[in-house]
Symmetry: C2
Subunit: 388 residues, 2 copies
């Protein structure tokens, strides 16, 4: 159903073959003639250039720049004129070296593309920016090793602190960084450490609420799709799932647990594996929406209707979940605010507020009940997304 356009190469794997890419996806557009007179274009002037131009010392220029110390109106004007004239901007590296801080924080995520992370990042960026901080984005590509690699940023003082979103590093490793004096903060994960601020949701409770919503509707055999085996949030959701079963007086069937690696394809495969085990079930709780999308596809292949034959609930409130048919029930978190809050806390700590009264914040999530988990669902109509 997809008509091929003019070009064949599209992204599918990581980028390893730069020349390849160039050769494949581009068509040269007028190789511009070279220009030679750019050597002498000098963008920067230093503070001493300004001092010279204004016939004052560098100290005075610095005072004008930072509004520190007293400077006579006459001198100030001359300096400001010189600054404008030379379009001078103080060198950030020099400033950082002297101040021993960079006004930058790093943000480590496992995949920028996942909208869950993107929204948190937005919250972090906006807040950080308002507080005059910049953020360096680190895509760990789901690899724990890359996470560790990126930690060097705080160790070599490229950044003043690092925010990790649902990291793979262990509690012990994280604690070690903090105790060495590196400022780190956590989002979507809690840790009991006096130096590490964190913002997280009650995964257990949320999962329990979601699964209870299913049992209340009469489901007695419910499957669970976990994410990565080493992901705390996935584990906590499993815990909530088990709690809900217990609460409903239902038995825990280990065969009804499968691992889907948080990805759509993973969810798709895992669901098929579940179905083939010979332990029938009528509802499935997926540790995130991506896997739920995979379930949709698998159900479609097996001729199962959602929610009549199979109820589905995910987590994350992925953008797609609201638009797909049937709309997907899911657990939503205030992602933007979570990012904003942690950024504010971490920067506060960087500012020397070492003894904040609290470092650990649990924020609420909410279950969005949509069509995929309700028995009576209006279907066969163009979906009109609700406006949450």
């Amino acid at each position: 159903m997809e008509k091929q356009g003019r070009l064949s190469l599209f992204r599918s794997e990581p980028f390893f073959f730069i020349q390849n890419v160039i050769d494949n996806i581009t068509s040269q557009v007028g190789a511009r003639e070279n220009v030679n007179e750019l050597k002498d274009i000098k963008a920067d002037s230093t503070i001493s250039d300004v001092a010279k131009a204004a016939r004052v010392s560098v100290a005075t220029v610095s005072r004008v720049l930072n509004g520190s110390g007293a400077v006579s109106a006459k001198t100030r004007l001359r300096v400001e004129e010189a600054i404008r004239e030379l379009s001078f901007m103080p060198n950030a590296s020099a400033k950082s070296l002297r101040a021993l801080r960079t006004m930058t924080i790093g943000v480590i995520v496992s995949d920028i593309l996942v909208s869950y992370y993107a929204e948190i990042i937005k919250g972090i960026e906006n807040t950080a920016n308002a507080l005059h901080y910049k953020i360096i984005i680190c895509d760990a590509q789901n690899q724990k090793e890359k996470e560790s690699d990126y930690m060097t940023l705080v160790m070599n003082r490229t950044v003043d602190g690092i925010i990790l979103i649902t990291p793979k590093l262990t509690d012990a490793e994280l604690a070690a960084y903090a105790e060495k004096g590196y400022a780190i903060g956590l989002i979507g994960r809690s840790i009991d450490h006096p130096l590490i601020p964190c913002v997280y949701t009650d995964n257990v409770g949320a999962a329990q609420e979601a699964v209870s919503h299913l049992t209340i509707q009469g489901h007695e055999r419910l499957a669970f799709l976990s994410g990565f085996a080493d992901a705390t949030d996935s584990y906590e959701r499993l815990e909530g799932y088990m709690k809900a079963l217990r609460l409903a007086g239902l038995p825990f069937v280990p065969e009804l647990i499968e691992n889907g690696g948080f990805s759509e394809n993973g969810g798709y495969d895992a669901f098929h594996r579940l179905m083939d085990k010979g332990h029938p079930f009528t509802a499935v709780f997926a540790a995130n929406d991506e896997m739920a999308l995979g379930i949709y596809r698998a159900c479609s292949e097996r001729g199962l209707s959602i929610p009549e034959d199979m109820a589905v609930i995910g987590v994350d409130n992925n953008r797609v979940s609201k638009y797909i048919t049937p709309t997907l029930s899911t657990v939503d978190q205030p992602k933007y605010s979570m990012g904003a809050l942690l950024a504010e806390k971490l920067i506060d700590q960087l500012g020397g507020n070492q003894y904040a009264d609290r470092r650990s914040f649990q924020v609420g999530s909410k279950l969005l009940v949509r069509q995929s988990s309700l028995f009576e669902v209006k279907r066969n109509r163009l979906q009109q997304p609700s406006s949450d």
Copy 2:
């Protein structure tokens, strides 16, 4: 249909009220007792600490660190031991100050949340990282002024160069930066300047192909939803739309053009405005998928079936477009590769390759024909997304 959970505050506006956020979304979790023995935790040691420990000069340590110059095996071992012992890491600011470069590039986007940008960013980050560069993300929040603000990053040497994705700055402004000696690159926009590398798609051609696809199917009155008035890509898509009309011998009706600001709600409003003008039409080409989603909602409200009553085509291949019912026809671009390619080119230029043979790269896009633009559409079934 959305059940309210425990908490009410969810992100809707920019973040301005930090204390507010805290008070609203959090519940305190065990205010940890303060710790006092952290003053003496010293994370960093300097190169001279290492030198002292190894009983050599700082110059020698530097040589060991960078593999420059000759160092005797015996000394090298001693230095390496000292480095390990002190877990020394060279200070990035000092390095940058000395080297006059930061190994960092800035990336300015108008909204991180838009998946189009996120995917480009991923391409940039992965490539930059492979080349030992870091990226600073700048969310301009659709404001031209913020774009300019972020340009200070390259002027004060926080970053070595800046990549702008479909910026609002004018060609003249961009050229001015480049001519002052600041390294900038463009994605999703072309500029005819010898110093500015850019990677872009043929918006005109792609739009023309999309609209022609509609006219070929017999549509004679087609509307166009533009994005921002000042966005080049939106303008180019309008151009393609007009070309396609001309090609099909159809009249251009100015009343059938509306501005939707690239957002879902904007598209929704714009579509309603179009419908109320009294100039009937049977198909609409939206300058991006977000607006197309708004059109879906508006159509649903007006009882219009897609594609029977109204054919719709968008641009961007938003994640949702594949999952919504009916699936949305759209124009796809190799976003990841575009980011990767430009990052590689810009960094190449930073490396001193001032006279690259080409700086301007046009990459192909492809029209994905899905259900929303086809007359005979299978509907009323659970959608099974195709696997593009």
